[in-house]
């Protein structure tokens, strides 16, 4: 499932008349969409290069954390890890291929700078990596484990859900593995197909004791990652791999944190609330603009950031939530495994989201 977007209509301040639109012979969006695509595909001989389904919108330069430097997402992760290794002598980073810098270059230069007993490779064994990480954390060191792709996290699922999440609870607070942070590249990337594109945060959202965090860009990534590392609970930090190189922002060089379990309202609006995380935030930014231009609909955009425990208050402002004028809509990938060749049709791109808004305001 790609990042879901949920729509709410805020009844309290709505200026839109409530109109009931008969659906008549209007076919479901799915099949309309299918027809359109088939027309597009016919007659094309050469393979087109697939463009990304989103445009990254950088955040404004943060001024409250000191001097900044231009960094992309993987560089901001490296910076966060660099700060951690510098400030915390017990911190260790391990995972598959992290020593040379990692398959996405998130750990470049760290082994040379901090030594091979602090940045080291593990063999190919995810269950072992996480189990080992839990042990390191329980014994008091700060453990930062990398799982090479979120799709490979499942052998470690038992360790994460049954061991890490429950450690504090089952020992009556005698022990905990709060020093553990697990990082993994996450989400669709355009050509990842079944096993390099998954977004498994939902599987972990039902394990109390864990925190699950997903940033939307470099500035968020560094701040949230540093928060996860500092947080006294085991955290899973998913990094949208499609943005590793594509997302560039001015990121503070020093250490800073962005609070967990706090959603961020990126844009205020009065008609529809859009909630997303990770890459989808940028898709919805465009959708919000489209909705304003074409439909005159004012959208509020919220980046959830922390999936578990999530910021219920910000998302469901009580008086609005109890006065919705249309059911909540969820726009996400189809209920199929993440496809190989069909990826462009599978992901909830801006047109699908825009169409959903149109349907909602006409509910």
């Amino acid at each position: 499932m790609a990042a879901a977007a949920r729509f709410l209509i805020r009844g309290a301040n709505s200026k839109l008349p409530i109109a009931v639109v008969g659906s008549g012979a209007h076919c479901s969006f799915g099949s309309t969409f299918l027809k359109l695509s088939l027309n597009c595909n016919s007659g094309i001989k050469t393979q087109r290069r697939h463009a990304a389904h989103f445009t990254f919108q950088p955040d404004p330069v943060p001024t409250q954390f000191g001097p900044t430097q231009k960094m992309n997402l993987f560089q901001s992760v490296t910076s966060a890890l660099d700060n951690t290794l510098a400030n915390d002598p017990t911190a260790v980073i391990f995972g598959e291929d992290v020593a040379f810098g990692g398959v996405f270059r998130c750990t470049v230069g760290l082994r040379d700078k901090y030594g091979k007993d602090r940045v080291f490779n593990t063999p190919l064994c995810e269950q072992g990596i996480v189990g080992f990480g839990i042990g390191v954390a329980v014994a008091g060191a700060t453990a930062i484990a990398e799982i090479q792709f979120a799709d490979y996290i499942f052998p470690a699922f038992d360790q994460i859900v049954n061991e890490a999440a429950k450690y504090r609870y089952r020992s009556g607070d005698l022990f905990d593995c709060g020093n553990l942070t697990i990082r993994a590249p996450w989400g669709c990337v355009g050509h990842g197909s079944l096993y390099h594109s998954q977004s498994p945060e939902a599987f972990f959202a039902h394990a109390p004791g864990l925190k699950v965090v997903i940033p939307r860009g470099p500035v968020q990534a560094k701040g949230l990652l540093l928060s996860c590392i500092a947080d006294k609970n085991p955290c899973i930090f998913f990094e949208p791999k499609i943005m590793y190189r594509a997302a560039v922002e001015q990121v503070p060089v020093e250490s800073y944190t962005i609070p967990l379990s706090q959603a961020e309202v990126l844009q205020e609006g009065s008609d529809v609330t859009l909630v997303a995380w990770g890459t989808q935030v940028h898709v919805l930014r465009e959708v919000a603009n489209l909705a304003q231009e074409k439909l005159g609909v004012s959208c509020e955009l919220i980046d959830l950031q922390t999936i578990l425990p999530w910021d219920v208050e910000t998302v469901c402002k009580e008086e609005c939530f109890l006065n919705l004028e249309a059911p909540i809509t969820r726009v996400c990938g189809y209920d199929t495994p993440f496809p190989h060749i069909f990826e462009p049709f599978y992901i909830p791109d801006k047109w699908k989201c825009f169409e959903a808004i149109k349907k909602m305001i006409n509910y």
């Binding site: 050509h191 190989h340 069909f342």
Partner: protein, 400 residues
């Protein structure tokens, strides 16, 4: 006189792999061989490397016989695999193949040797470096290339891609490292349960050898004496990590501990064949599972996004290519025993080139699978199931 010539030219066609019934081969036309059929050695005996043994008193034989026919078939099979992989490399660089592509060139002797020692009714399962095995298990080059390019003519209807190709008794094609090994043990259990005297060949790599589930599978297979032939294709590198840096013990054939094991030269197709015969026999006679470690090498990087030279030197790759290439080894053996001529090999090469070109033509011109396929085959269901779409108004039908 006519019938004699036809007989001779037909025989020549059979050996060189040309269509026997082709009416274009007429008497007296310049066919491949300049020598007449009688001058070639039809059978020769070769020494093969001794295999290291673990938990076994005796191993595979040190000598093997190869017939001219078999030799040319091996050559053909390996050369097809080589050319197919190189074509896949080319198509990937042209962005006609996208996604992930793990190439098998350098390891051809493993696939060819294993297949020669088992029956088509035996079962085989491997990891993601599967194009070679897909071919040896009976899928045509055109279906493989079409699957890589994601077209409907592909062996998995274009829905699987490089890592998910299947065929009768060939269970893929598996993306998650090590996940196929317990599956292989299960298939072996089914063979034993059904009493059909078949075995399951379960392959994995040196990287996967450190996965926990492999050892779980070893235990089950040995405990229940399953007819499972575990094969570790040790190509010295698990993606970018050399075996010394990943494994406490690089004797992968000993990793089964209580399970017997053999270490085999995986660049020599005859060695692989003999060892596989020995091991398959071991399984079939009810002695239980066995591990084979094939020492081999891959020329390409781990996948197409890996140049393959940041963790090993170009000189190392060159050395293996010049001294230990499986196809060259076989060719030299056959030439030095006068089992075939240089021209014959050239002819085979030309044919194979054409076959791969035709397959490429198909793979690049075939149409993509219809959009309805996006939802098909999620479950087995009749009538078609409604599948949730991207939002509540989008509904698609899943047929299976």
């Amino acid at each position: 006189m006519t019938s004699v010539w036809r007989f001779v030219s037909n025989a020549l066609c059979r050996i060189t792999g040309r269509k026997v019934a082709a009416p274009t081969v007429s008497e007296g036309s310049t066919v491949v061989v300049s020598n007449s059929l009688n001058e070639f050695t039809t059978r020769a005996s070769f020494d093969i490397k001794k295999c290291d043994l673990h938990g076994l008193e005796a191993g595979p034989p040190l000598k093997t016989e190869l017939s001219r026919d078999e030799g040319l078939r091996f050559y053909r099979t390996m050369q097809v695999m080589r050319r197919m992989e190189l074509k896949a490399d080319q198509l990937y660089k042209q962005k006609i193949i996208r996604g992930f592509c793990h190439l098998y060139d350098g390891q051809e002797a493993c696939a060819a040797g294993v297949e020669a020692a088992i029956d088509p009714s035996d079962h085989l399962i491997t990891a993601y470096r599967a194009h070679g095995y897909t071919y040896t298990r009976g899928v045509s080059v055109r279906e493989i290339l079409a699957e890589l390019t994601g077209r409907r003519g592909g062996v998995a209807k274009g829905k699987g891609g490089s890592m998910h190709m299947y065929a009768p008794n060939f269970y893929g094609g598996n993306g998650i490292v090590g996940a196929q090994v317990p599956l292989g043990a299960g298939i072996a259990l089914a063979c034993k349960y059904q009493g059909n005297n078949q075995i399951c060949v379960t392959l994995y790599g040196d990287g996967a050898a450190n996965q926990g589930q492999i050892f779980e599978a070893f235990n089950m297979a040995a405990l229940w004496k399953l007819p499972c032939l575990f094969i570790c294709e040790n190509n010295k590198y698990g993606m970018g990590t050399s075996v010394e840096r990943a494994s406490a013990s690089t004797d992968y054939y000993k990793r089964g501990h209580f399970m017997p094991g053999i270490r085999v030269d995986g660049m020599d197709v005859l060695c692989v064949r003999e060892a596989t015969k020995f091991a398959a026999d071991h399984c079939r006679t009810g002695k239980g599972p066995i591990i084979m470690e094939l020492q081999t090498y891959r020329y390409h990087g781990h996948s197409m996004s890996d140049p393959g030279v940041s963790y090993r030197t170009r000189e190392e790759i060159q050395e293996v290519r010049s001294k230990n290439d499986p196809i060259s080894l076989l060719k030299e053996r056959m030439l030095s025993s006068n089992m075939a001529s240089v021209e014959e090999f050239k002819e085979i090469d030309i044919e194979i080139r054409k076959e791969v070109e035709d397959a490429t033509q198909f793979a690049t011109s075939d149409s993509e699978p219809p959009l309805e396929e996006l939802c098909n085959h999620i479950f087995s269901n009749n009538p078609p199931l409604q599948v949730r779409g991207t939002h509540p108004w989008a509904k698609l039908k899943s047929s299976s």
